[in-house]
Assembly symmetry: C3
Homo-oligomer: 390 residues x 3
């Protein structure tokens, strides 16, 4: 096995490549196929000016990674199917244009448009004052640029393409967390795997909250689309969502001004703790699945925002170390990780696109096999999941 690694950004040595590309014409022979590439570009103009985009293309799925925005995934395309949603914010927003303190701590929303963005690392959930610390919506990580970025091609198996970024979320008198994220695909595959390691490089124990805000619109979400998961428990976040509990796993078409709903879950997994969830379209011939370890990401949140297309018709499939409640509540419920100095957590998350009825049936069969017991459905917000419930 041989592999070659190119440094795209490195603050220490002053490296930054404006654009760069490797594919079958200038890279190694990979047994999985010849239509692969890794392509680095820099966006220009508007709020996107200066945003780095690294696109991995397996030949079947391409995914655009944003080192400038905390290694989020902007959007993808799989065999012609867009893997994305349409936010009113059209292009990735450079973090220097995002002021977290705007809109009463909701400024994060001015930069929200990715297929996958992380909420964390030190806090996520709504803004507020947590024991004297002012925290803002969904934390800092999605608006912190990587100081080291590299791309790698290996001829292992069918060929492996990856991009790795290192992002520090640190400050004086503040947690010092470093995330090393690798986004990887195999040549010829329709799947993408994200491996993240978050280490406390500070000198004191520090809290971590990490949630993968994975967002999809059309064509996976549409009227009649369905969410499928091996549910252990499900509870509506609030009274409004409770009114939608009966149809929590089905999607309506867009409704202008409809308020969002959210549901909190515990899921069932296989013997090794791996679980899988699926979003499939009405016809059942286009699906998006996610696979991860419940030991790493025990909490799952489903966010339903079937607003007008122009306002962001979108649903969020959100595995996390916690639910996106205010941090003090999550701490109280024992769902905030505490990392000792030098200690780290690892997560792995695989997303995959399925474009045939047969492939989707297989995923559903697998999910059914994980469902060992009847789901518990809480009719209203439950004190285990939601604050302010007796």
């Amino acid at each position: 096995m041989t592999s070659s690694r190119v440094v795209l950004t490195d603050t220490d040595s002053g490296v930054w490549l404006d654009s760069w590309k490797i594919d079958a014409s200038n890279g190694p022979h990979l047994s999985g196929g010849s239509h692969w590439s890794i392509n680095k570009k820099t966006l220009r103009g508007g709020l996107a000016d200066g945003v780095d985009v690294v696109t991995l293309d397996s030949g079947e799925i391409s995914i655009s990674v944003l080192p400038t925005r905390g290694m989020g995934l902007w959007r993808g395309v799989c065999r012609g199917i867009p893997v994305e949603w349409r936010s009113p914010v059209i292009w990735p927003v450079h973090p220097r244009h995002v002021t977290m303190t705007e809109r009463g701590g909701l400024g994060w929303l001015y930069g929200f448009n990715e297929l996958l963005c992380r909420c964390g690392l030190s806090f996520n959930g709504p803004p507020g004052n947590d024991n004297g610390t002012e925290i803002t919506l969904h934390g800092r990580i999605a608006n912190l640029p990587a100081h080291h970025v590299s791309a790698e091609v290996s001829d292992h198996g069918p060929g492996v393409l990856s991009v790795t970024g290192v992002v520090d979320e640190a400050g004086m008198f503040s947690p010092a967390l470093r995330m090393t994220s690798t986004v990887r695909t195999l040549v010829g595959s329709t799947a993408i795997t994200i491996h993240d390691r978050v280490i406390n490089f500070g000198g004191q124990p520090t809290e971590v909250e990490l949630l993968y805000h994975t967002n999809l619109g059309r064509p996976f979400m549409e009227e009649g689309a369905k969410f499928v998961a091996p549910v252990a428990e499900v509870a509506p976040r609030d009274e409004h969502s409770a009114r939608g509990l009966d149809r929590y796993n089905r999607y309506p078409g867009p409704v202008a001004g409809i308020p969002e709903e959210a549901f909190f879950f515990t899921l069932q997994g296989d013997a090794t703790g791996q679980t899988t969830v699926l979003l499939k379209n009405a016809a059942g011939d286009k699906g998006f699945s996610m696979k991860w370890s419940l030991a790493e990401l025990p909490c799952f949140t489903l966010w339903k925002n079937p607003a007008a297309d122009a306002d962001g018709y979108v649903t969020g499939l959100e595995p996390g170390t916690n639910y996106p409640n205010f941090r003090s509540f999550e701490r109280e419920r024992g769902r905030v990780i505490k990392l000792a100095p030098g200690q780290s957590i690892d997560t792995a998350l695989t997303i995959e696109v399925h474009d045939s009825t047969e492939a989707i049936r297989q995923v559903e069969d697998h999910i059914r096999s994980l469902q060992k017991s009847e789901p518990v459905r809480f009719a209203g917000p439950h004190r285990k999941f939601s604050a302010g419930v007796e």
Copy 2:
């Protein structure tokens, strides 16, 4: 008629030109003259680093447009006369350096130095909490960069030079407004016309406030300078301004530390609703006029800030869809526009420089012709215009 258009910035296709120029030497023959040009530069260093400047030069007037700052007009020169004011903030400030939430929501003032900047699009006026939404001074549009910018030269008539920029003011769970602004001049002319279209590209009705904060210092403003307008009604904004009502249309020389005054107007127009206002210097040989439609911009505010030259000796001539009061008051008075999804408003504003007694007399004659009835002068703040008045 032939015209050629060059894209200077386009986020979608990754275009951005650091510098670019067209003039008689490399452009078309224009019948209005040969001393015209369009010149694109990028500012470097300090808070201005990265700001795009596109300068249109008709041969008689040149004007510098700032796509990076919401298509504001930085400053101009007409036949050697500076068309500008002198803010303590010397160069245009890149929006990434402006934090709206500083100074208790007045952070906008750290970037304020243009001949013309827009206040809006979703709100303008003072900061505060409007029904649960934190709004900041004068809104976002002046600190949002265009994601598409093009320049055009046409041989229509004497020759037409223009620059067009598209700026999105949008966010998730936030209004989605798009402004397309064209700044245009005719070869040989001393006038500049601004055409703006603001469209609601979101899926729900949304509010719009738009005010053209047009600011002038010397030589148009000076001791003895005069403001001339076809006044229907005039009211001081507050008690302090009321004490200056008698001399509202005349200017003193600079006075260090003098508090600003503001006056709210309704104006009279011609049969088609067009109105004109004028600022002329003491000698009456240098004038700056503005022309627009009262149907588009029914509200006019005069801002007088005859402070020390070093602090910004300046007056603002401000046509708008509203007065720059807190949005909730303007809404109450029916002066906040509500745009349905897909709906848009259009505005056109022409500014012109006059450099002879004769030319200025003609503008004054025209304004006099618009004055069909006696102006109503309110001695104090009036409940139609100012909040907190019984």
Copy 3:
């Protein structure tokens, strides 16, 4: 004497050099030696992207100046000894990534990692509302980029290397202050001198606070390291610091989570008002001294933060025009400077590295010679220095 000056940045004329270097191979012959240089680079990637660094190297000491961060000194190296501290924030942070209003006005701390950064110009100390003005921690100057930067080499004496930057801290309806800072070294020297001039270029009297937050970690600070100064008075900032008064001039090794201490001083000087302070390591063979005029910078603060190395094991030696208390208290105590329009203040500060027992003994002898009277030691916080004390 001949000297040559190169403009590295100038907003007015559009100059900005990405990289540039002068040394003995392309510069003048300097009698002090041939191992000198001035080297300009631009940092790339992460939060440091776009930060200009100008490194002066005397042959014995090199120091990296940050025009992008208000002419702060990032770090130095003297004869192989690092002159720095290690913040959890590893590289200089571009001001566009620093939002002062985060963390309840403490956002400044997200960009804090320099050997020397200025706190000011209009205010320093903690955040809060000072008579209607919202101020944020330690002011704006450290996060404002210079709009004019030049480097100069002169063959005067052994050869003089310098970099000069001009930084405006201004805004509409806000103080208008301009700092011109020159950082200079002599070829063959181990010392660096900083000359700053701050002028009020506004039209009204305005307040100034200026403190040189000079920060050192290993190897100068370590267990057994000592602070030496000609103390007139010393008072602990607060009750917590009071408990450390007995050992205020000695340093422990790192202790994870230890709270910071601060001490306020008046110092003694020579007949011309010059004073000197020293930080020396345990063995007494590595020392860092600072020299300045008590007429210019009468207030001295010692900040002790012997936290875990990973959290920033650091001490601050901080001469200033004031103590870093909230501005209203400093104003009350008469320690806020008021500059009339056009008026300026000048400061000069020399830092020097000493790497032998003998050299350090000489500095200590000199400090002892300045100590003309017994130091007054206040057992607890004193009303002269700390707010809230009766």
